[in-house]
Structure formats: structure tokens, C-alpha cells
């Protein structure tokens, strides 16, 4: 069952270190294909750390692994992911005459792949 959530892409140290090594190696790929999700949401959706989930926005779809964060750290309904190729697939092209695509606060549907 799909559930609508808000995705926030951002920078992380792992992603930063990874891209210095190579964008085509494991560290960067892992860093940019892991989504953080609230543990309560995870439990409700029957997800465990490392489970694959599909994220779908109005613009595209991507599949990533998930990892849990406590409620005080990441509120329910909010997802966090490091910038990378998967987030490109989800962003919309309308920049509202600003040049900036909405790159945080992306509305996505999350669905377990298993």
C-alpha cells in the first residue's frame, strides 16, 4: 500500500566523501540510495532497515533502501535522502520563475517493494 510522504534531500558527509572518491563507486551509490524514514512509519508499513522501497513523485519513480530514524530526530511522514541521481528522478521541472526546482519538500508516495 502506498503512503504519501514528504521527502527532503540534503547533503551528508558520507555523500560528500563518496563523491570525492568516485560517483561510480559503492560509497557514493550507497549514500545516495538510502532513504531515512521515521521508525513508527516503518513499523506500520512493515519495513525493516535495508528493505527496498519505491518512491514515486509526479515526475518519476526510483527505488532505494530504507533506514530508520527515531521520531524526535525525524518526524512521521518525513523522509530524508542524500542528493544524487535518485532525487533527480523525483524533482519537478517547474522552478516558479526562480531557476530553482523544488528540491526539498518533495511529495512522494512510498511503497514497499518486497
Amino acid at each position: 500500500m502506498a503512503e504519501t510522504m514528504i521527502l527532503i534531500p540534503g547533503r551528508t558527509t558520507k555523500q560528500g566523501v563518496g563523491l570525492l572518491e568516485s560517483k561510480f563507486k559503492k560509497q557514493y551509490r550507497d549514500a545516495t540510495t538510502t532513504v531515512e524514514i521515521n521508525v513508527e512509519d516503518m513499523a506500520r508499513l512493515g519495513l525493516k532497515d535495508g528493505c527496498k522501497v519505491k518512491l514515486r513523485s509526479a515526475n518519476g519513480v526510483t527505488t532505494v533502501k530504507c533506514t530508520g530514524r527515531k521520531t524526535e530526530d525525524l518526524p512521521p511522514g518525513v523522509l530524508f535522502i542524500a542528493y544524487g541521481p535518485p532525487t533527480s528522478k523525483l524533482m519537478g521541472t517547474d522552478t516558479g520563475a526562480s531557476g530553482m526546482p523544488l528540491s526539498k519538500h518533495l511529495e512522494v508516495e512510498l511503497e514497499s517493494v518486497n
Binding site: 514528504i6 560528500g16 530524508f80 533527480s88 520563475a97
Partner: protein, 458 residues
């Protein structure tokens, strides 16, 4: 640079002091690099953070061709010829990037786009471009980071996570740094963090205010109202997730500090509200100057992204998203910004300097880049290089190439390279392309459009 460079002859090990790390906007200039000249490796990077260590210690000159044309190895000269032909024949070429290169290369790049009548944009537009637009509406009260280190007794981080993206921000500038009027470091400052989630930057804060996602503007506007002594409905908590009491406490702290700072991240500029969010936080700081000295300043990501804004501004009058089709600069975000130009399918050629939009632009933009002849300059193989018609391998700025970079607060720093490279610098390649394009345009009779032939199959 003589004094800073001590050569140890016995093992061909060199030490370069006061080198600058160009990874993030902190632009720390206190690196002490130990360089093994035979192995062409940096073996130690004293004072570097985790990102800086990764930058220096993983540096390796890969054995790649000087240029790739359609993925096949080519000489530099062949690459320059192909790139020049693409640009001389383009009707509406889009130049983008510039955040990870020297100002010298940026300046030459703007000269090239001016000559071919193209459009230029930097990574600013997908970073703090909206903040640049906000500046044009409301101004700003800003400061160099040293003034903040010396004086700030209230430091508010908003929508940014320097612990991960600017790792030495706290220690060098704003939290545990020791300054003239802040001799006791963190004890002399109150640190506040405002964010939608508990990031790794939150633990150093004395006060954490968790704002509801998408409600930054409302919170900022309520704070402005309170600063001006207006009534704010307690129901604001429902919208923002922050109680009126918490807001009032923060406002009192802001009005009563001696020197306050709002550092804000892309949590404001990239999200719903964009330049309105940035304008709200800039205005909040300006309003507070009725009571005390207050600063608001964006935290910027890449090493020399500030330089890109600065160079484009002094050469054209506008910070980013500038078009030269009419023979003079025009500015219009949304029209002349890169992600729009590519996603709409407007650009008929592209030149990407020191950036990788192929990994972070919208899918529609990436799809269009695949269809048109693209020119890429980068020390590393990138997603964009993989889809380019011509991809140049260039030397790494700050490691192989000297020049100027501007810190996010506008302080210019001269880089100290520590290793030679067999590859040319970005500036040298752009200059070579410029010279060839100039020849082509001066001698050409017919006008543009020949790129239709050169266009890749979709």
C-alpha cells in the same frame, strides 16, 4: 610562496603550509599538506576535516585521455577544435557550472559566453540563487566570518546542517571559535538551531526549535511581527509547530544580544517559498538592527560558488541566469537559468564547467542534455561527462592549479597548489576554445545553425 614551501630533499617529500581546501564554502586556508612528489600523492592533510581529508588523500591523477569526443580518446587540440565548432555554430548555447574552479577560469568562461551570445548560469541558481533574488528585493545585513567569530553572542542556524556539509564551521567561525569578544568560545555564545529534523548540527545548540515542514516562512514572519511589537495569534503553533512562548523567548534573545547572526541553509532556499523564505530571514535580521547589530548570511556549499556569483556580477551586473543573445547581458531567473533552459529543451548546445548537472538536475533536463552536443570540463569522470560530445580532463583547482577562490562571505583567497598535473587547467582549456571560436566568428560569412547537423540522435 617560498617560506611556506619546505622541501625535504632526501625523500622527495614536500610540505605545503597554509594551503586552502576547496571542497566546501568554508574554504579553510590552514591546511598543512605533506606531499610525496614521486608518488604524486598527498599523504597527510593536517587540519582538514573529514571532507577535506577525503579531498586531499583520495586525490589521484587518473590516467585518462586529455579529451574524449563521443567517448573516444582525443588530443587536447582535437577536443578544442570540436568544442569551438559546437559553440561557433550554436544558436542558443547554455553555459553552466563554475562552482569548483578558479575565478580566473570563471572570468574567461563569461568572456566566451559573451562572445558567442549564449546564456550563462552557475550552480548558484540551484543553491542560494533564491537568496540572490531576495537580496534584490530587500538587501541584507551581512559580515565576514571573522567579525562573527569575534563578536557574535547569539548564533542561530536555520535550515542547514553544517556539521555534515561545512564541518569546520563551528570550530573556525561561529560556535567553539575563540574571538576578540568571545574568549570563552561557546560559553560566550548562545547557539540556536531551527530545523524540520534533528540533524547532526543540533547537539551543539543550546536551543533546538523544530519547525513543521513547510512552515519556515510563517515562523519567520511571526518572528518579524513580534520584533515589531505586533500581536501574533497563539494559534500560530498549529501552523508552525512552535509555541508563541518559544517565539517570544527567541525574539527577546535576538533583541537583547550584542551581535546576532542568522546562518541559513538550503532548507530555506530550496523548499516551498524559496526566495520568499530567504527574503523573510534577511528582513528579520534587518528589522533587528533597530535594536542591536544583527546579521543574516547564507551558508554556501561548494568551494568557489561564491566566486561564480561575484565574477558574473562584476562582469554583467547580474549574479546568475544571464543571457547575451542581444549582445548585452539580460537577467531573468526561470528563463535563463540552466535547469529551465535544459528541461524546456531551449539550449542547442551546452558547456559545463566544473559541475555535474547530469547527477543532480531534473530528469527532463538530463534527458535534453543527452540530445544536444555538450562540452564538459572536469578533473573526474562525471555523469555529465559520460553524456557529453566533448569531455576534457582538467587539472584540479587548489591542488594542481593556483588562482583565486571566494569564501562564502566574499573573502578572496589565493590558492596554493601542491602537485603538478599533466592536464591543463580549466582556464587554459577555456582560453584555447575562446581563441579558436574568435577565429571562427571573425572569418565566418554565414550565420549560425550548423549544429542541426551535429546534433546527436535523440
Amino acid at each position: 610562496m617560498g617560506a611556506a614551501t619546505k622541501a625535504k630533499s632526501e625523500a622527495n617529500i614536500k610540505t605545503v603550509e597554509n594551503a586552502t581546501c576547496t571542497f566546501c564554502g568554508c574554504l579553510c586556508d590552514d591546511m598543512v599538506l605533506t606531499v610525496d612528489m614521486d608518488a604524486k600523492k598527498i599523504t597527510k592533510a593536517k587540519n582538514a576535516c573529514v571532507l577535506g581529508k577525503a579531498l586531499f588523500l583520495s586525490h589521484e591523477e587518473e590516467d585518462r585521455p586529455f579529451a574524449l569526443i563521443d567517448g573516444k580518446p582525443a588530443t587536447l587540440k582535437e577536443g578544442v577544435e570540436e568544442a569551438a565548432q559546437i559553440l561557433a555554430n550554436a544558436r542558443f548555447p547554455m553555459f553552466y557550472g563554475m562552482s569548483d574552479t578558479t575565478c580566473e577560469a570563471q572570468r574567461q568562461n563569461v568572456a566566451l559566453v559573451d562572445m558567442v551570445g549564449g546564456t550563462i548560469d552557475s550552480t548558484t541558481s540551484v543553491c542560494h540563487g533564491p537568496t540572490g533574488m531576495a537580496l534584490q528585493g530587500v538587501g541584507e545585513s551581512t559580515a565576514t566570518l571573522g567579525e562573527i567569530k569575534n563578536r557574535a553572542d547569539l548564533v542561530i542556524y536555520w535550515g542547514g546542517n553544517p556539521a555534515e556539509s561545512l564541518p569546520r564551521h563551528f570550530a573556525r567561525y561561529a560556535v567553539t571559535a575563540k574571538g576578540m569578544y568571545t574568549p570563552n568560545r561557546k560559553k560566550d555564545r548562545t547557539i540556536v538551531n531551527v530545523d524540520v529534523r534533528r540533524t547532526k548540527s543540533v547537539p551543539v545548540a543550546d536551543i533546538f526549535i523544530q519547525v513543521k515542514i513547510g512552515a519556515d516562512f510563517e515562523l519567520l514572519w511571526a518572528l518579524r511581527a513580534l520584533v515589531k511589537g505586533r500581536h501574533v495569534d497563539p494559534n500560530i503553533e498549529k501552523r508552525t509547530g512552535v509555541s508563541l512562548e518559544t517565539m517570544k523567548d527567541l525574539v527577546e534573545r535576538m533583541k537583547n544580544c550584542r551581535y546576532g547572526v542568522l546562518f541559513f541553509g538550503m532548507g530555506l532556499s530550496m523548499t516551498r517559498g524559496r526566495h520568499f523564505n530567504s527574503a523573510a530571514i534577511l528582513s528579520l535580521a534587518s528589522d533587528l538592527n533597530e535594536y542591536t547589530h544583527f546579521i543574516a548570511t547564507p551558508m554556501r556549499g561548494h568551494g568557489n560558488v561564491a566566486g561564480a556569483d561575484i565574477v558574473v556580477s562584476w562582469q554583467t551586473g547580474y549574479p546568475f541566469g544571464v543571457n547575451f543573445s542581444r549582445g548585452y547581458p539580460k537577467f531573468n531567473p526561470g528563463e535563463f537559468t540552466a535547469t529551465d533552459m535544459f528541461a524546456r529543451g531551449d539550449a542547442d548546445a551546452g558547456l559545463i564547467l566544473a559541475s555535474d548537472p547530469g547527477s543532480n538536475f531534473t530528469q527532463a533536463a538530463i534527458d535534453h542534455m543527452k540530445k544536444i552536443p555538450m562540452i564538459v570540463l572536469d578533473p573526474k569522470l562525471t555523469h555529465t561527462a559520460k553524456l557529453a560530445r566533448v569531455a576534457f580532463t582538467t587539472s584540479h583547482y587548489g591542488i594542481n592549479t593556483g588562482g583565486t577562490a571566494y569564501r562564502s562571505d566574499g573573502v578572496p583567497i589565493e590558492l596554493r597548489p601542491c602537485l603538478d598535473s599533466k592536464y591543463p587547467s580549466d582556464e587554459e582549456v577555456i582560453r584555447a576554445i575562446y581563441k579558436r571560436v574568435e577565429q571562427l566568428l571573425k572569418t565566418r560569412k554565414k550565420t549560425k545553425g550548423a549544429n542541426n547537423k551535429r546534433r546527436k540522435a535523440a
